[in-house]
């Protein structure tokens, strides 16, 4: 996501403003410390002219893999 944000030439604060969240939330999402809701993921993808799959696809796959290992 960080790469996509830099490509879109947006700062974390600008992205946070346009997505309606705090900069700390964007920092946490980029660091992988926070999994955004579907609504926020869609808003971020929209602002970055990308898709949720492109931005979070890899993270979603690893979460699904971990869940499968746990069961």
């Amino acid at each position: 996501m960080r790469r996509a944000r830099l490509l879109a030439e947006l700062t974390q604060a600008e992205l946070a403003d346009s997505a309606g969240v705090t900069r700390q939330t964007i920092v946490a999402v980029e660091a992988g410390d926070y999994a955004p809701s579907v609504y926020l993921a869609l808003a971020i993808a929209d602002r970055l002219h990308s898709t949720v799959e492109e931005l979070f696809g890899q993270a979603a796959t690893s979460i699904a893999d971990n869940a499968r290992e746990d069961t």
Partner: protein
């Protein structure tokens, strides 16, 4: 964004809880802020419950019978706060009474404190001027009534959950 379904009109209980908890505050509109505050509130609730239990236990062992009215008040506060949290969760389809959610390792120290508290209360009560067999019978009946009510509430909540799942 609240966890309350916007398409359904919330019950009076949920509306009242929303007012008490100030859940329409814009602070809750930011999802990570809300998540972090929810976690912080859960920690605070657990700390408050533990401190109340410890305070009640200490009071009943140190002060004795004179502390009993205050101990009952503390226990009532614990009970009301816990029941509001449980009922709020039930109302929104989250069933916190499932056994898998409480680990035995976490429950053990709480049970030790509860046993100490019960022992202290019994010791204080038996030295109390009102301690006779009818008082003790009343206490046993009261505890049994609370347990029956709790079992009935669990059964009712489970039935409601099964009905909404099907």
């Amino acid at each position: 964004m609240s966890t309350v379904d916007a398409d359904r009109s919330p019950s009076w209980f949920i509306r009242m809880a929303g007012v008490i908890g100030d859940l329409s505050n814009p602070f809750y509109g930011e999802e990570r802020q809300r998540d972090v505050w929810n976690e912080a509130s859960a920690v605070a609730l657990q700390v408050l419950l533990c401190l109340n239990l410890l305070a009640a236990t200490a009071a009943v062992w140190i002060v004795g019978a004179d502390a009993l009215p205050y101990v009952y008040a503390l226990l009532a506060m614990i009970g009301i706060a816990s029941w509001i949290a449980i009922l709020y969760s039930w109302s929104l389809g989250v069933h916190v009474e499932q056994r898998t959610w409480v680990s035995r390792r976490r429950l053990a120290p709480v049970l030790v404190v509860v046993v100490l508290l019960a022992g202290g209360m019994l010791r204080a009560q038996t030295g109390h001027v009102f301690a006779d067999w009818s008082t003790i019978a009343g206490m046993i009946t009261g505890v049994a009534a609370v347990l029956v009510l709790f079992a009935a509430a669990c059964w009712f909540a489970r039935r409601r959950a099964e009905a909404s799942d099907s």
